[in-house]
Structure formats: C-alpha cells, structure tokens
C-alpha cells in the first residue's frame, strides 16, 4: 500500500519553508486579510447560535459513535446506495482510487470531466492521473479554477486561493482564458468564470465530486457549496463519480440537523451556505443516470487504530482552525507542504503517512488551543499534536541521528552527579570563544538553532554544587573550632 497526500512526501520541513514565506509580504497581507474577514463573520453567527456548545457536543458524539461502528455504517451505506441504483467501490490507497476513477471515465468514453471542489481528489493526485490518461479535468469552483489555471497549489481547505489578491487573479484569467480586457473587480472576475464554465457545464458528460456527508440509512450523499458549480456538476452530466473518505459516513439523515448548522457557520461565517445538494443513487429522469461512489482509506484506518489520535477523523473540513491559528495566519498554507494545512493539516498529514513523512508538522504550532476552541466537532488538536510529537521523538530516539546520539549522551551525563560536574568543568573552559559582554549569543552547529532566537547566560564560574560543598566545609571548620574552644 502506498499512501499519497498530494505532494507532501517530497515537501521540505515546515520550519524551512515558513522562513522563506515569512518574507513574502504580499502573501502575508492576503492571508491576514482573508482570515480576519472569515473569523470576524464566524464570530458573529456563532454568537447568535445560542445552542452552539450543545450542537458541538452532539456532533462530536455522533462522530465518536460512527467511528466505533464504522464497518457497520459503511456496509449500510453500501447496501442502501446499491439498492438506489448507485455502485460502490472501495480503494485501499490513492493509486487504487485513481485507477478505479480513470477506468470508469474511460468506460463511459469521457475525455473531459467537470469537477466540484474536493480536497480528497487533491490528496490522491487525481488530476495528474487524469492528465496522464488523456482526460482533461475542469475545476469548476472559482478558487480551484484560480489554482488550476495559475498552476498553483491550494493554501486553504475551504478557500484554496485566499493567498491570491484580485490583481493576481486578473493576470491569471487574462492569460489562461485568452481575454484582452478584464478589470480586477471581483464581480468582473466572477463573471469571467461564469462565461468560461457555462459551456463546459452544458457539454461535458461526466461529473466528479467529493462528499461532505454519506448517509448510512438512505445511501444518500450531501454536498455543501456556495457557487452553484456543485449543482451543475451533480445535476447536468449523465455520469457522476463521487470520491469520499471512509470517515465521511454518518448514521442517518437526521444527523444533518446538527452538521448543517455547524459547518456553514464555521466555514464561511454564514447562517447557511447558498446550496446543499442531497441525492440517493440514481433518480429516474432527474440528474445523472449512472452513479458511482469510491470509498477511500489511504491511511485513514491507521489513524483509527491510534486511540489518542482517532478524533482526527471527526473533521468536517470547515477550516475554522486554520483561520484562527496564529501560526497559519503568519505563514499561510503552503508552508505545510500538504494540501491539508493549518492545525488540522498538522495532525492529518503526518498520520496518513504513519509518521513516515511530514514529521515537522506537529511542531508547527504554539499549542495555544485556539483551534480546539473553534472546532465544531471538538477535536482536541493540541492534545493530538503533543501525542504526535511524542511519536516523532520516540521514533527519533531509536535512530542514529546526531540529535539522537547527543540526547542519549545528555541523558548519561544528567544521570550522574560526577559526570555532570565533569561536563560543567569542560563547558566552562570550552565556552569562552562564544561569550561576549556576559552573554552567549551564537552557538555552533545544531545548538545554533537555540541561540538563533535567544541569548544565554554563560556557565557561571562556580556551580551551585561546588559552592554548597565549600560552604559546608567552611561551616564544618567553624563548627569544630567552636566545639574545641
């Protein structure tokens, strides 16, 4: 099984990329503006929802319950969807999902696919697989289109292009749509997208979507969106293929009453997003007459197997934790090297990889807890971050890296008073080249990471232990003098 999360396996560490991105003032300005607007709107509509905490508790309980019975609910979904005329496929990993989807498109003789925004398809790298097989995917969500036409990567799970401003969008649209005139007014840019895509919506015969919720009791699917591009792709083509992570299933239609109140307020700060679509299998004379669902594992069962981290799978991808995170708000999403960025990305990405890649991500946090507070399904992200840091450290301890050897040496030194004093004596002698004006400002090698952002006091002339010994000796002398006198 090969797990893929976009191109995260090849990405450099968060700390490395973040340093470069922090110099991009335009990016920081764009990210700051976007996250300020969403957090402001969210705060207003969450405050007016008097039963917000009760909704969160129920949603969290539904997710916990569902995960504990996940096999049953997936089988229920499969049976109900099949009865309703849908076909259900199971994919262990990204490659298998891509193969199933590409084969389906070929089977229906498609050369083009219209796509609703789905992070899961970015996770498995579906567009690349399409292109490698001569199939052209059209992203139809405005932000996804900006990313696709700009040959860029998503930087946010809800608003993937929030790192671009209107001038940058205008440039991309003019170049890629071959327009000679276009203003940078968001209204005009949106109109350009409307005209560009309308013809595709009417012509392309295969639609592709993700899923916000799979309903086990009915075999139905729910997709939440704003622009109507989703409705176009879900309604107009003859063939519809839906890709969903196995954690997207919820027990029943009724559960939507909690999730449909939590998701829009958290994601975009709206009481309700403009459109929610629900369908169940194939509906005669209404919408696609061929419907396929691909259920994806791609590392999710590994997360499920970790008792302390399985709450990660509660996520409904609202993005509230990104918008509120003091780290994300500075760096934007690209620093995370994964299509899943921000606090939730920092726990999802390395876990999908079974901690084999993206080990720097659990450290991309100040553990302030803001993400937990806004999470509509109560994922205790700081708790999971600390747990994952533990996993990273335990793994590194067994390795032969310089840091691991150094740490083992330090452990030996600190476990013996004699060795500690010997080390302190050596340190006092060795430190002089680094001391200036009473401070150690730069240390060499790996230790330099510590002094890059802090100054240290040098080791004092005398340690407490040696001072104490001398004091005891001196007082013993006085004491014995007193006794003899």
């Amino acid at each position: 099984m090969t797990i893929r999360v976009g191109e995260a396996a090849e990405a450099p560490s968060f700390q490395k990329v973040a340093f470069t991105l922090l110099d991009d003032t335009q990016l920081r300005k764009n990210v700051r503006h976007a996250t300020d607007v969403i957090t402001g709107k969210r705060a207003v509509v969450v405050r007016e929802q008097q039963d917000w905490q009760q909704l969160r508790s129920t949603a969290s309980a539904i997710k916990q319950h569902t995960l504990a019975h996940l096999d049953d609910y997936l089988l229920q979904f499969e049976a109900a969807c099949t009865v309703a005329g849908g076909q259900v496929h199971w994919a262990s990993d990204a490659d298998e999902a891509n193969r199933i989807i590409v084969d389906l498109v070929k089977q229906y003789g498609g050369k083009e696919v219209i796509k609703v925004k789905t992070m899961t398809s970015d996770e498995i790298g579906l567009n690349k697989a399409f292109e490698a097989n001569g199939i052209h995917p059209h992203e139809t969500d405005l932000a996804d289109m900006i990313i696709q036409l700009g040959h860029d990567k998503p930087s946010h799970i809800v608003a993937p292009a929030l790192h671009k401003n209107r001038q940058q969008v205008r440039e991309i649209f003019m170049r890629e749509m071959g327009l000679s005139e276009l203003t940078d007014e968001p209204q005009d840019l949106t109109n350009a997208a409307r005209h560009y895509l309308r013809e595709k919506f009417l012509k392309v015969n295969i639609g592709f979507s993700g899923a916000n919720f799979l309903l086990a009791d009915t075999g139905g699917v729910c997709v939440v969106e704003s622009e109507g591009n989703g409705r176009m792709c879900l309604t107009l083509p003859d063939v519809l293929i839906t890709l969903a992570g196995i954690e997207k299933v919820i027990p029943s239609f009724r559960d939507l009453e909690a999730f449909l109140q939590l998701l829009p307020r958290s994601a975009t700060g709206e009481r309700m997003n403009p459109y929610n679509s629900l369908w169940t299998g194939v509906h005669k004379g209404d919408g696609p007459q061929h419907f396929h669902v691909v259920l994806l594992d791609n590392g999710r069962t590994r997360i499920l197997a970790d008792p302390e981290a399985r709450q990660t799978l509660h996520c409904i991808r609202c993005g509230a934790c990104l918008n509120t995170c003091p780290v994300y708000r500075q760096t934007g999403g690209h620093a995370y090297g994964s299509i899943y960025s921000g606090p939730i990305g920092a726990i999802v990405t390395p876990q999908l990889f079974d901690m084999q890649h993206s080990q720097s991500l659990p450290y991309a946090s100040s553990l302030c807890g803001a993400c937990y507070e806004v999470c509509p399904v109560k994922i205790n992200i700081p708790e999971v971050l600390i747990h994952l840091r533990g996993r990273v450290v335990r793994e590194q301890q067994s390795g032969a890296s310089l840091e691991a050897i150094g740490m083992r040496a330090m452990a030996r030194i600190f476990s013996s008073g004699r060795r500690l004093e010997a080390a302190q004596r050596l340190g006092r002698i060795g430190q002089w080249p680094f001391v200036s004006e009473g401070w150690v400002k730069h240390l060499p090698g790996m230790l330099g990471n510590w002094t890059a952002v802090r100054d240290l006091r040098p080791l004092p002339e005398q340690s407490f232990r040696s001072w104490w010994r001398e004091r005891e000796k001196a007082s013993a002398k006085t004491h014995s003098k007193e006794l003899s006198s």
Binding site: T190, E227, N229, R231, I246, E257
Partner: protein, 211 residues
C-alpha cells in the same frame, strides 16, 4: 473487478482491527442514546418566525414579495413585470391556476437543458423553509432552479418552520428524493473575501410569501 472486492475486505478488516482498542469499545454506544440538547422546536411566535425568515433572506440579497392565496397569480405577474420577463419555465407540479395570463409558460419536463439555459426565468414552489437560516428547501426541480438566471420561489406561510431540526423532521418522509437547500442566490467570496452574488446558479432570487 476482483481487486475491488479484496480492497473492500481489506479496508473492513483494518477498521475492525482498529476498533478493538479500549477507547473504541468504550464508544460502542447505542445510537439512540446520543444526547441532543440543542434547540429542536420553535421558541418564537409565528410573526417573529416570519420576520426572521424575511430578514435573513434579505441579507442574502433575495427580493421579497407578499401575496394572499387569491392574489398569488397577480403577484407573480408583478414580479415578472418588474424583471421585464415575458415568459418562464414552471415546475411540473406548480398549480396552473396560479399562473397569470399574458405570459408564455412552459413546463420543466417539456424543456431541454439548452432551453433552460436561455430561459428568462424559473418558477417553483418549495417543500419547507427555515426562518433561522433563511433557507428554502426544494424537492426535485434541480435543473429548473439552477440554469435560468432568475428563480422565483413561492413559499406558503405554513411551510416556514423556525429551526433546522424542524425542517429535517418534515423532510424525513422525502429523504431519499433529490433535495436542494437554497439560501439566497448563488454566491462566492473566493476573491479577497468579497461576497459576489451569482456565480453559476441564478443571479436573482425572488420569493413570494403567501399568507
């Protein structure tokens, strides 16, 4: 596809193995015992519910009109005149007697998607509406209420409930049909978080409330 069958068993087996931990077993609760302490029923009186519905619709940039059951046809004529429409495509189950004279009507099932695409507007009723969120819920009529640039929806006062759970309860009997929740015209905030009305769906949403 034998491989798919194998993956199905493999995924299910991995789930079952993962669910043997103490934590997973502790959450093997009965679905019925999940606590639902949030608001499930209305707390406002009818007037306040109607006002909340209209306020929230207006915030989404919908246009609102009033009618009585016997003035509905006249109200529809007024809305169409305001938007300079001479015709519209109408949902199949929309009562004939509510369509005013002097316009040309075509039923949804007799229309191709290209005709819908160039139509002046669409008219349909709804199943239920939610005051708390300003949402209208449609059964079927998916293409009709999507492709034309204007969508006129007729909402009867007794279709308006206050809370989302009340609406979901009313929809329980239709839960396997195609359902569309509409909250204002199509919109996006993808460029600098500026809300733009009308991306791919109808740019104009008109609502007639009948009471």
């Amino acid at each position: 596809m034998p491989e798919a069958t194998n993956s199905r068993e493999a995924v299910l087996n991995r789930i079952r193995a993962a669910n043997t931990t103490a934590n997973a077993i502790a959450h093997r609760t009965n679905y019925q015992t999940i606590e639902r302490n949030y608001e499930q029923t209305a707390s406002l009186d009818r007037e306040a519910i109607l006002k909340a519905f209209l306020d929230h619709l207006r915030e989404y940039d919908a246009h609102i009109f009033d009618a009585k059951p016997d003035t509905l046809a006249a109200a529809i004529a007024e809305v169409l005149k305001t938007s300079h429409q001479k015709s519209a495509i109408v949902a199949d189950n929309f009562p004939e007697e509510n369509l005013p004279a002097g316009f040309s009507w075509q039923r949804e099932s007799e229309t191709t998607k290209d005709q819908l695409n160039t139509a002046e507007g669409a008219i349909s009723g709804c199943e239920v509406a939610i005051a708390h969120t300003g949402t209208i819920i449609l059964r079927g009529a998916r293409k009709l209420t999507l492709l034309p640039d204007r969508f006129l929806c007729v909402v009867y006062e007794d279709q308006i409930v206050e809370t989302v759970p009340e609406a979901i309860a009313r929809l329980e009997q239709y839960k396997t049909e195609t359902l569309t929740f509409v909250s204002g015209p199509s919109a996006t905030a993808d460029i600098e978080m500026t809300r733009i009305r009308g991306v791919h769906g109808p740019r104009f949403l008109d609502v007639i409330v009948v009471r």
